[in-house]
Symmetry: C2
Subunit: 185 residues, 2 copies
């Protein structure tokens, strides 16, 4: 797996990396314990502030770490990491250190305590913006407070879970820019 050198990325453009619906890896740290989980139930909510919602099942070892830390990092993997992504989703941080076990690189975040995953081309530092639906739905509403994105690949082959152990890989890019009203671009 490749290590990416990431640059600062504008917060209002975070949607360019999350709105297509990729599986993401969520890194978290609380009281010295660090973990990673896979997550596919998430959506953009607002451009500015950059709000983002996700469902984190309370069956996950990460749930309590994230709930208590009130912060996390959302990392976007590509298809070269698919086996690692599946192994992360099928093991528990209660038993193992996933960074060590899967040979992933912790890179320091700028604002939150949780590390970025060096092998992911994009990482978004998040702080809990609204926890009022955690108890009822396991829903976390995040504000992305710092974004890190590698300038390449331009068209990352993100992975999109469809259930039953199957993924779709992001394919062809099609532009219809000329058909858009300028104000909604």
């Amino acid at each position: 797996m490749k290590l990416y050198r990431k640059n600062d990325f504008p917060l209002h453009r975070v949607r360019e990396h999350l709105e297509t619906g990729p599986v993401v890896l969520v890194s978290s740290t609380f009281m010295g314990e660090t973990n990673i989980m896979t997550m596919a139930w998430h959506m953009m909510m607002e451009f500015t502030p950059a709000l983002f919602a996700s469902i984190i099942s309370n069956q996950n070892h990460s749930f309590e770490l994230i709930r208590k830390a009130r912060e996390c990092v959302i990392n976007v993997p590509t298809v070269d990491m698919i086996d690692t992504v599946v192994r992360i989703g099928n093991s528990t941080g209660g038993d193992i250190d996933k960074f060590e076990k899967f040979g992933l690189t912790k890179a320091p975040a700028a604002i939150v305590k949780a590390p970025l995953i060096g092998e992911c081309y994009a990482s978004f530092e998040c702080r809990l913006a609204d926890g009022s639906k955690i108890d009822k739905y396991n829903m976390f509403i995040w504000e992305v407070v710092k974004a890190h994105v590698s300038p390449s690949p331009k068209r990352p082959k993100t992975i999109h879970y469809k259930g039953n152990g199957e993924f779709r890989i992001a394919g062809e890019t099609i532009s219809r820019r000329r058909m858009f009203r300028p104000e909604i671009l």
Copy 2:
């Protein structure tokens, strides 16, 4: 555009068509007025009941129709409809009848008043399950109460918006089923 004959589909498997993050077309009806909007900010929330969240900007003509009707249909288009999808997103139902203007076919729903879109391979009838975050975030929490899916295509070329008028098309399907713990398949 092709018309699909859709079959009943199990509600707990709705994720197979929504979790990858496709752009969807939302049809709604209130007091005799029908409209369609495009939507990409959505996520699965629960298998049973089949809960699903979405952000519907109050700038959309559909917002008031949907808020008042408390129901809608989520339809999943494929890449053959991309120009129609973009035109729907760049026009307003305040000015035109989008079904008529774009030559789309209304098919009757089983439970809700809004029509299914005949040219979409999958349609999900939704009732509002929780409107408590509409005022603050434009967030609607839906229960899918009836699912209609065409048996083909097996691997629909769904379209995934990334901003700037650009879309990624769902590409290759990769299975890692053998690496999954049975209980999370």
